[in-house]
Amino acid sequence: MTTPSKIDSPTLWDSKEMQRRTARRYRQERIFRAAGLGAVAISALFLVVLLGNIISQGTGGFFQTYIETEVELPVKVLGDPRTMTPEEFANSVRRANMLGLVAKSLEETFPEVTSRSEKRALIKIFSTGVRGQLAQFVTENPNVVGTRQKLWLLASDDIDQVVKGNIDTETDEGDRRVSDRELAWLQKLEDAGRVDVKFHTTFLTSGDSRNPEMAGVWGAVVGSALTLFVTLILAFPVGVLTAIYLEEFAPQNRFTDFLEININNLAAVPSIVFGLLGLAVFIGTMHLPRSAPLVGGFTLALMTLPTIIIASRAAIKAVPPSIRDAARGLGASPMQVIFHHVLPLAMPGILTGTIIGMAQALGETAPLLMIGMVAFIVDIPSGITGAATALPVQVYLWADSPERAFAEKTSAAIMVLLFFLIMMNAVAIKLRQKFERKW
């Protein structure tokens, strides 16, 4: 005989206790949702603050102050383009005293400036880059020689900061980098409508410079691209092949277990350690060139490998065994199974992992510092063995510079870096969509 148990008596769903229980459940659910929403809000807030800060600071980095002045371009200074070959003319222009021409043009605007020291101070409102700017203009338009031209010339970084409002003109004259005299000149030019803030393509097309108004990210972009290229060429095939071997061929034994653990550990190793390794092995032992994208790429490849291997293994493992069975059942060899069926299906995951690894590598600074890619390099890198720097290193370098104007350059460079990261992610998504198939 069974004793009547609790389960035999009907449950009182309408009882007070039950209602309390229900209410509590609803309350808990609400709290949980609110907590989740709060977490999302906090992270969104951080993101907005960070991005907002960078964008508000960095936008200025893409713009530069220009001052209009009417420059006399005499034949005797520049040479006669009609009697010279283009090369000779270009050389002659390069040798010419451009700043003198600019200084002369200022005399008309500021007749009161007569003393030598004042004149030298007056020309400082222009960037030293004016020399190159003017030279380029004349070389490209030889027929302007012998005429007067109204030109917008690059202002110096201090003037630029004043115009952009980044220097407080109310403070004591000794505390700021711009004297009252310079401010008065600037005021006069502004009143004449000869000061303007314009989009500054130099920032996107030239290399680094000691002068903020002349500095550009292109050198760093090319350096990063070359480095990533080397990284990809090395890390992708090695990573994918390793993943395939470990997933499909490696026997299950202590050795493969050991290998697996080490790969996972490698992913957690601080990146600077890879830098040290790169320095010791690639530069110290193998004598590869310092500061070169080749070494940078090797080092970053080492760092990216674990990421690619882990992601690829996960993607390969996610391919349903039924597909393998089907292919094998038809008599496909192990290699055919992998290359005809497993890899195509795992590709989206592998590519995602690879691009995440690449993005990581793109943002990495520490290992590059170790192998000397932190050098000040003005030229656009020409190959993977030449000296180069990379975007994050450029950011690091500028952030370290004393000039006030480099602050906004730093933010602008970060924006460029972010742009490339977003582009890479977009490519990742696009590729995933392209390869993705249902099974």
């Binding site: 299950q252 349903p320 089907a326 292919a327 094998r328 059942g329 496909a332 005809h340 249902k438």
Partner: protein
């Protein structure tokens, strides 16, 4: 002179009847033991598969029937801990011999799986894959023909002939399974192994697949693992009952389902298992 061929042809016509009694099996398993590490999964099984006959392997889960089936085309090779003892022959040749090429063996002994598993490719590519990797078609035209006849044999041609480019995974479950059968017969196998081919299908799709199996039985030796007693009864000529790794009883399907000799067989098929 003219009488001779006549006589010969009459003799050969009569042959099947003669061989009926002492015919040689297409595949024969003798004292087959399978181990998974320490587990003894199949214990001394003797079983013959004959041409133009469907053999159903039944038994409770974990009785070793699927394991045994997978030994017949060496699908267990990929399991590192799996060990097979005894002999399994195909046309008298041991398939576990070193000289046997597994790839060729699997082409000769095709397999259809429990879950329909078409490749995530087009219907055409699904069927063409096998002939392509084995080099069975010289030209694109040959391949087209193989695909068409295979689909026709699988009873799927009329349903898919206008959309050979659509993905195989877009078909219904039953069509997918028939596509998998078409894919298997496209490499012109001699034996077809089926591992619970209808367990994921509805009754109508199941009936279609069963009808197909019935039609295929004339050309291939078929072994089918099934959990559905009724299915075994419907489509097979021979039934083998496995229990705890042993082949408990093997016989004519009608005999097994009306008068099983072994009590364990009876208990299992009537639903008396404790």
């Amino acid at each position: 002179m003219s009488a001779m061929p006549d006589q010969l042809s009459r003799m050969t016509e009569a042959m099947p009847e003669v061989t009926q009694t002492t015919r040689t099996p297409k595949m024969a398993a003798r004292d087959v033991h399978v181990y998974y590490g320490e587990t003894h999964a199949v214990k001394g099984v003797n079983l013959d598969l004959h041409q133009d006959e469907v053999t159903a392997l039944i038994g409770p889960s974990g009785c070793g029937k699927s394991t045994f089936l997978r030994c017949l085309n060496r699908m267990n090779d990929t399991v590192a801990t799996c060990r097979v003892e005894g002999s399994i022959t195909l046309d008298g040749k041991d398939i576990y011999d070193n000289k046997i090429d597994v790839v060729q063996l699997r082409a000769r002994v095709g397999m259809v799986f429990q879950k329909p598993n078409p490749f995530p490719k087009s219907i055409y590519e699904n069927v063409a894959y096998g002939p392509r990797i084995h080099g069975l078609a010289e030209t694109r035209l040959d391949l087209d023909e193989i695909v068409a006849t295979s689909l026709e044999k699988a009873g799927l041609w009329n349903e898919v002939k206008d959309r050979l480019d659509t993905p195989g995974t877009a078909l219904s479950g039953g069509q997918q399974q028939r596509l998998c059968i078409a894919r298997a017969i496209a490499v012109n196998p001699e034996v077809i192994l089926m591992d619970e081919p209808c367990s994921a299908l509805d009754p109508i799709a199941t009936a279609r697949v069963e009808a197909l199996i019935e039609e295929l039985k004339g050309r291939y030796a078929i072994a089918i693992v099934t959990h559905s007693m009724q299915q075994a009864a419907r489509i097979s000529q021979k039934t083998a009952f496995f229990h705890l790794g042993n082949l408990v009883e093997m016989g004519e399907t009608t005999q097994i389902f009306t008068t099983p000799r072994e009590e364990r067989t009876r208990d299992y098929i009537t639903g008396r298992f404790g």
